[in-house]
Symmetry: C2
DNA sequence: CTACAAGCTCAACTTAACTTGAGGTCAAGG
DNA sequence: CCTTGACCTCAAGTTAAGTTGAGCTTGTAG
């Protein structure tokens, strides 16, 4: 058995449920870090499991890797995250998470509402024009699916 | 102004905030429909506005076009959805919406918990422990994410 | 000490959801 | 009639987030 303190890429893959190739990919994107053995193999600290968990959960709900990366950047590189580090990361996210939650609830309940209101006018529908920020920017796909 | 009963692509684009090319795309995917004038131009019924609104709102929260397409198939062609149609659509999505909401809460509360524990000890972090317990608990890749 | 499983790199392929561009048509104003 | 702008089709490009495969190295169980 491998030591408890260091994990191989395969072990991280098994424990996190993420493919090895995806872990390579996350590392290339700077979302996770590893150091190498003398034989050039990756070794991960145990905090990588938590990071990967955060990444996957965030993706599930439609947060992009870019956004996740920005948030994770606030975590320290070398040392164990302090209370203050987590505080920054969490508060940075909590607003958008709360907002996303309320949007989802609105959609869920909004469909019911729309039954009530009939949505005769699209302009009056409370759901519409809620998040038109996506409409403005960039080319290509704005959102990827995260279904699994 | 054009008559209230029929809309050109440009009008639909303007009113819905969706690019003309995206409307073409949705039509090719069977999400919306149109008929053609003698000059081969698209004309849309007013129900297309509501359909497009649904499509965009659903996308906002990470529902794929494929899923949306399946749901929209339950809607009638050509006429504006009735209360009963909405009911069907709403219940079809409710489960997946509820699931996404619970995942968001899990992420948000996980981070909040980490503030509470300060994550001074990695073993005490509830987020890490959760993932670790699941991973150690048996067969292969179990993740923090809610199973589908 | 030798299989062979697990790792490594790098390039190319994939899917979703569009956008962009080229090349051509149609409708209305001047 | 002519121009201008809105439409049309179809092909190719783009982005995100990975996956797949080839070719080569490392580590370990028997």
């Amino acid at each position: 058995m491998a030591p408890v303190t260091e994990l191989t890429v395969g072990q991280v893959a098994a424990r996190s449920g993420v493919a090895v190739s995806a872990l390579h990919f996350y590392e290339a994107r700077g979302l996770i870090r590893s150091h190498r053995t003398s034989g050039n193999q990756r070794r991960y600290g145990r905090d990588v499991l938590r990071r990967v968990a955060i990444i996957r959960i965030a993706q599930e709900v439609g947060i992009t890797l870019a956004e996740i990366g920005v948030a994770l950047e606030s975590l320290p590189e070398g040392r164990t995250p302090t209370r203050e580090d987590w505080n920054l990361l969490s508060t940075a996210w909590r607003d958008s998470l709360d907002q996303k939650i309320s949007q989802l609830k609105k959609l869920r309940d909004g469909l019911t509402d729309c039954i009530g209101c009939g949505c005769m006018s699209i302009d009056k529908c409370p759901l519409r024009n809620k998040g038109d920020r996506l409409a403005g920017e960039g080319t290509g796909a704005r959102r990827l699916l995260v279904e699994r």
